[in-house]
């Protein structure tokens, strides 16, 4: 240990130095405060013995400066004094002094005091070390939270909460929200909403939110059903979450017309339909366990469906809403919340509803995350997704020659259309192209080659009989050829199909009646070809059906 002795009297310095060196410590000496500060900044010291009255800079001032120089580390300052003057002693303590030694000192007392102050100084070293470790971990934690928070906000970029028909109030209890509200339009103008509540707060639920959000956006974009969604959420969360963590969720799909809702509720308080007066007209209770509990083979994804009358609004919320408490410790409860819905029943009063909830819990600390979502069930007005209609610029020709082997138990039309769909600009037309080709192909196959009579379809059970007869005749078919020619010219962007067979009979063209009986089971195929093609013609006495389809005319 290194001791700094500051005293203007040489005799004192020599006496103390000798004594302390005998205790086994090294010693520096200064004659006044200025010198002491200079020495301290160069050599430091573990304990300072300081005279009170000195020229140049007195002990009180020196003590203040020394303490300042020492910073976070505790520097014991012991005043050397013969004074019995209590006022000066108090001033010394106020100036940061830690103790006194009297001159001449009692060696045993001096040694004991030095050791005691050394221990305090040692503690202060340890404290500083621990503080540094703590600060390191705290920084690291903050950095990692920032990373997760960044990832989470990126994952939620697709979240569309700004729709005219959607009102939300989201109030997390801590920085990381254990509630998750997701919302996105589907490809059919339909609309999806997810209101979830993970067990716990903080990082863990936020991490669970990542896969859920990504799955939600992917499946919503594909326009899949809520049943498919919840199955996938559950599959992922069961795999990911520890056993004591799960996610209560309400997931719903509103049809583009705003008149149909299908939903799945696992562990979320009853969602509500309310009318324009805020009266509850229907409850959508939880019918399932939360997500992330049951293994996929035991998970129940069955949905509930309801038809919605005009002017109804859907209210979904997490339990933070009804469990919020006022200063008397009373919870809001379902009844309290529904009263508020009545009180602020109109769509335009959502902000008042929120203020009223906020003032209810004013003065208390929010203990749970709060999410409240209101969807006005009107036609969504969301765009219907269109495929890329860009036109192909290269002419092409394709010849497909089929024998019975390619037809029995196979589906050449689907394969052909699937292949064509890989061409730029064709994909947008694949449903219609399939229709045209399937009708043409089946007409040729069923009438020219299999010689089936469509009238069978009109009899009782005739539909099934027709197709089992088709199957039977197809089995015994031999030596047949069906040729499909596809030709595309970019000039007029028309795809031409020629489908011909080597069957003996041609299509009985006169059988086709241009007037369709809507209840009738057959005769619809040629009608569809007529409607969706630009031009069609039976050629070679009904042996060949020629069809032109205009890529510029997607809508009829």
């Amino acid at each position: 240990m290194h001791i700094l002795i500051v005293d203007d009297q040489a005799a004192n310095r020599v006496m103390l130095k000798g004594l302390i060196e005998r205790f086994g410590h090294s010693v520096s000496c200064a004659e006044n405060g200025m010198q002491a500060l200079e020495l301290f900044s160069h050599k430091g010291a573990d304990i300072v013995l300081l005279d009170v009255m000195m020229p140049v800079m007195d002990g009180l001032t020196t003590a203040k400066h020394l303490k300042q120089l020492s910073g976070e580390i505790h520097l014991p300052v012991l005043f050397i004094t013969a004074l019995d003057d209590q006022k000066t002693l108090l001033e010394c303590l106020d100036a940061g002094g830690d103790d006194f030694i009297s001159t001449p000192p009692e060696p045993i007392v001096l040694q004991a005091k030095l050791n005691a102050h050394a221990r305090v100084r040692e503690l202060s070293f340890k404290l500083k070390e621990k503080n540094e470790v703590l600060a390191y971990h705290s920084n690291r934690m903050e950095r990692e939270q920032n990373v997760v928070s960044h990832m989470l906000s990126n994952a939620l970029l697709e979240n569309e909460l700004k729709f005219g028909f959607l009102q939300t109030y989201l109030s997390p209890a801590t920085e990381f929200n254990g509630d998750l509200v997701l919302s996105k339009g589907g490809p059919l103008g339909n609309y999806y909403i997810f209101v979830g509540d993970f067990t716990g707060h903080g990082l863990a639920p936020a991490t669970g939110a990542l896969p859920v959000a990504q799955t939600f956006f992917d499946l919503a974009e594909k326009g899949l059903s809520v049943a498919t969604m919840v199955k996938e959420f559950n599959r992922r969360l069961v795999k990911l979450l520890p056993d004591d963590m799960f996610c209560a969720a309400f997931v719903a799909e509103l049809s583009a017309g705003g008149d149909r809702l299908s939903y799945w509720n696992g562990g979320i308080p009853d969602a509500l339909f309310i009318d324009n007066n805020g009266e509850v007209t229907n409850r959508l209770p939880s019918e399932h366990l939360a997500l992330g509990i049951l293994p996929p083979d035991e998970f129940n994804s069955s949905l509930s469906h309801c038809f919605i009358e005009r002017g109804q609004r859907l209210v979904a919320y997490t339990d933070g809403v009804i469990e919020m408490a006022n200063t008397d410790g009373n919870r809001l409860k379902e009844s309290g919340f529904e009263n508020k819905l009545k009180q602020f029943g109109h769509q335009d009063q959502f902000d008042d509803l929120v203020s009223s909830l906020e003032s209810f819990q004013q003065g208390t600390e929010q203990s749970d995350d709060i999410s409240l979502v209101v969807v006005n069930c009107v036609p969504t007005g969301l765009p219907v997704k269109q495929d890329d209609h860009s036109i192909i610029h290269l002419p092409f020709e394709l010849k497909v020659s089929l024998t019975e082997h390619n037809i029995k138990g196979e589906d050449p039309v689907t394969r052909l259309v699937d292949s064509l769909s890989h061409l730029e600009g064709i994909k947008a037309h694949k449903t219609t192209l399939y229709l045209l080709l399937a009708e043409a192909f089946n007409n040729i196959l069923e009438h020219n080659l299999l010689r089936l009579n469509s009238d069978i379809k009109e009899e009782d059970e005739g539909f099934e009989r027709y197709y089992s007869e088709r199957e039977r005749r197809l089995e015994s078919l031999e030596d047949i050829e069906v040729a499909i020619d596809v030709n595309y010219q970019p000039v007029d962007s028309v795809i031409c199909f020629g489908i011909r067979s080597n069957g003996e009979n041609g299509y009985p063209a006169d059988e086709f009646s241009p007037v369709l009986d809507e209840e009738k089971m057959h005769g619809r195929g040629m009608q569809l070809i007529k409607n969706f093609s630009r031009y069609y013609e039976w050629k070679d006495e009904g042996q060949c059906l020629y069809i032109e389809y205009d890529l510029n005319l997607p809508s009829v």
């Binding site: 059919l188 509930s304 469906h305 449903t431 089946n442 088709r470 809508s555």
Partner: protein, 101 residues
């Protein structure tokens, strides 16, 4: 599985979803999907969101279903048809016989 059948939780709706191609190759499966619907007069909902292809045989099967179910159901709705599928239903004037939503 290209035809799936599921009753809603309250049993009031039977939802039949058809994936991919809807044509005569599903004749049996489709018929089974709307058999045994019980006496509760459910609404039958045909969900076409994942139907990519359909042809006149599918239209025939839908009409067949309508004839066979008659008044044992509250109604039949065709829902979530993509625009191209919807156009085929419209051209065939299926809106006269089904609710297309």
């Amino acid at each position: 599985m290209s035809v799936s059948r599921e009753f809603s939780n309250d049993g009031k709706q039977l939802i039949i979803a058809i994936q991919g191609k809807f044509d005569f190759s599903l004749v049996q499966e489709f018929r089974q999907a709307y058999s045994h619907i019980g006496d509760s007069q459910p609404t039958v909902i045909i969900d076409l969101r994942e139907t990519e292809y359909l042809d006149s045989s599918a239209l025939g099967m839908l009409l067949n279903m309508r004839k066979s179910l008659g008044s044992s159901v509250k109604g039949i709705q065709l829902i979530n048809a993509k625009p191209d599928v919807r156009r085929i239903l419209d051209i065939s004037r299926f809106d006269k016989m089904f609710t297309i939503a």
